[in-house]
């Protein structure tokens, strides 16, 4: 196994962890992206300004990556199933609201704080994902 296969992912993880720490240490919040996003769509308190700043930060990261490390993104797909991405998006949007979080909130920030809810949520994310991928393969859907 190539060690470089794990080195960049690990560095990426360090960045994610550090960013999450900054959020909690300075702003007192958990960096849960699904929550940040939903809070902009459905503002409950007058706290959209930091959420928008966060969203812009993510977009800025995307721009930086696009120029400096375009291999971070896939090549433009010629054939793709629209239905697949509609279904994926609906499930992720709905599920993250119902489960109070996504991989950034639960899997990074939650597990690090030893939250039983987040540990369980992450296990379920991964298990459900494994089942979904296995089923797609069985159905002959190209992954």
């Amino acid at each position: 196994m190539d060690s470089h296969l794990f080195f960049m992912p690990f560095i990426g993880g360090l960045c994610i962890g550090l960013a999450g720490v900054m959020y909690l240490l300075f702003c007192g919040r958990v960096f849960g992206i699904s929550g940040i996003f939903a809070g902009i769509l459905l503002p409950k308190q007058k706290d959209t300004s930091w959420r928008i700043a966060a969203l812009l930060g993510l977009l800025a990261a995307g721009a930086l990556l696009l120029f400096l490390r375009p291999s971070s993104f896939p090549q433009e797909a010629e054939n793709y199933s629209i239905f697949r991405y509609i279904l994926a998006g609906l499930l992720v949007g709905f599920g993250s609201q119902m489960g109070n979080g996504c991989t950034s909130g639960h899997s990074v920030c939650g597990i690090s704080r030893c939250s039983p809810r987040s540990i369980l949520a992450t296990c379920i994310f991964i298990f459900a994902g494994i089942v979904a991928v296995a089923l797609m393969k069985k159905m002959g859907i190209a992954l």
Binding site: L5, F6, M8, G12, G13, L14, C15, I16, L18, A19, G20, V21, M22, Y23, L24, L25, F26, C27, G28, F37, W50, A54, L56, G57, A61, G62, L64, L65, L66, R69, S72, A77, R84, Y85, I86, L87, A88, G89, L91, V92, G93, G95, S96, M98, G99, C102, H106, I111, R117, L120, I124, F127, A128, I130, V131, A132, V133, A134, K137, L143
Partner: protein
């Protein structure tokens, strides 16, 4: 004001981490979940890297603080109950994650590419968020109907 800057900068760092880590490549995510096939463990190392840093800082420093450095109080959920809502929500999320290979963070970071799958995913994700909240408010108002005389 400085909180907004930190929010922006931290989110930018987070996004860079997502990109470097490979989470913006749906194929990598799906390979991570493809345990019976071409299993790619790289994403596990993203998690290991992230959790190592976060948990160290959390337990060594943050947990001991009475308040965050630039905000009046911590706003972290105190919910600890494990319920069906959490589990079903996580399962739905996981299935969606497996189908598309995308989750909210990577999708937003990838928006700049304007690739169709990402755009479709983001629009649908928005719809999913609204759908859940509409459902919840319908269920809540249904539960508050006056009792029959």
């Amino acid at each position: 004001m400085i909180v907004l800057f930190i929010s922006f900068f931290a989110a930018c760092l987070f996004g860079i981490g997502i990109g470097i880590g490979g989470m913006t490549l749906p194929s990598k995510v799906i390979s991570f979940l493809d345990v019976f096939g071409s299993w790619d463990l790289s994403l596990l190392f993203v998690m290991i890297g992230a959790i190592s840093v976060y948990s160290c800082f959390y337990f060594l420093i943050i947990k001991k603080l009475k308040k965050p450095l630039l905000a009046p109080q911590f706003q972290v959920t105190t919910q600890r109950r494990i319920d069906l809502k959490l589990m079903i929500g996580a399962a739905l999320f996981g299935v969606g994650w497996g189908i598309g290979g995308l989750c909210p963070g990577p999708a937003i970071v990838s928006l700049v590419t304007f690739q169709a799958p990402v755009l479709i995913f983001l629009i649908s994700m928005t719809a999913g968020v609204y759908l859940y909240n509409i459902l919840i408010s319908r269920l809540l108002s249904a539960g508050q109907q006056p009792p029959k005389r």
